[in-house]
Amino acid sequence: MILFPKDEEFKMDVLREVGNIGSGHAATALSTLMDRQVDMAVPTVSLLPFESIADRVGGSEAIVVAIFLRIEGPAPGNMFFILRPGSARRLLARFPVFDDFEADQYSELELSALCEIGNILAGSYLSSLGDFTGLYMSPSVPSIAVDMAGAILSYGLMQFGTMGDDALLIDTIFLEGGQEADGQFFLIPDPESFNKMFQALGVPVE
């Protein structure tokens, strides 16, 4: 699928910067929340076949904790904050109230706390994106699921589904203390949103 027939490389760079600014603010929020240094990898922007998107988080059947928000406004899209179960547990362990837990189970309160953390991070991602583009970006009520990555992520691919078999993904990995991926932000703008973002940023569109 060809999403950008013209200036593809430049447009991908612009989207990488969009991801960089958004996730930079989210990383700062996470760092404040955890009272720890949080590092962030350079965002990757790629047009991926539906089938390979779940590979970014360990494969279709890998169990992940995912907070999902629908972005509403002039440039709608889907946003996921994804944690591996171990990272979700480490994140919760920062809060003394959650010191008593079962390894593979999450209580309602724990899920609610994770959902709220995802909400705060996504909120800072989107508000910085809104400031940067001048486009109003309003997140929906967040929702959380602990399930197979394939089942979760396919939910964010519906808008691309009517266009082809690929989706454009802006992916940022967070690292805490130099370990493996602790959290991951997926931003999947709706196909129609790209031109709106480009226009808002002064990028010529066909």
Partner: protein, 164 residues
């Protein structure tokens, strides 16, 4: 040791198998896995359907496996090519979950149930009976159809393995 052939069906994809080979698709969320089986020939087909109706398609080259109303006829066509009799075909179905619960939310939030409804209408239009289903709820499923027996194995994170 008996070697079992495993044929993977991707997202928005379909395939057929026989001779005891397994058809497998992973991570069904709101997508729905529809299987058709001819018990006499031990011939099986599976589609991993993503969207209910092809009329919403805006793609140049339509991927027929993606939409319920085009995937099921294509699957039937592929099975008949191999000698299946449409009168013998029985269907099973899994998936169509609503992964995220929102207060409110538009029609796109109901994509799972709509996929199931559309697939059932298609099966009905070919008078293919739905032998069993495990659809809806809010969790993901991985499914495997045994072309030797027609048994559909369903695996989920919360509920483990079940067979229909």
């Amino acid at each position: 040791m008996i070697e079992v052939t495993l044929i993977k069906v991707g997202m928005a994809d379909l395939n057929i198998a026989s001779g005891g080979a397994l058809l497998k698709t992973t991570g069904l969320g709101s997508c729905v896995g529809v299987t058709l089986y001819d018990p006499q020939l031990k011939l099986a087909g599976m589609a991993h359907i993503m969207l209910p109706l092809s009329e919403i398609a805006r793609e140049g080259q339509l991927n027929v496996a993606k939409y319920a109303d085009t995937a099921i006829p294509e699957l039937i066509r592929r099975l008949r090519e191999k000698g299946a009799d449409i009168k013998r075909l029985v269907a099973k179905m899994a998936g169509g979950a609503q992964m995220f619960a929102f207060a409110g939310g538009g029609d796109s939030m109901r994509i799972g149930p709509r996929n199931v409804e559309s697939a059932k209408l298609m099966l009905d239009s070919f008078s293919i009976p739905l032998a069993a289903e495990d659809t809806g709820a809010n969790y993901g499923r991985t499914v495997e159809l045994d072309s030797g027996t027609g048994i559909l194995m369903i695996r989920s994170v919360q509920l483990g393995v079940k067979e229909i």
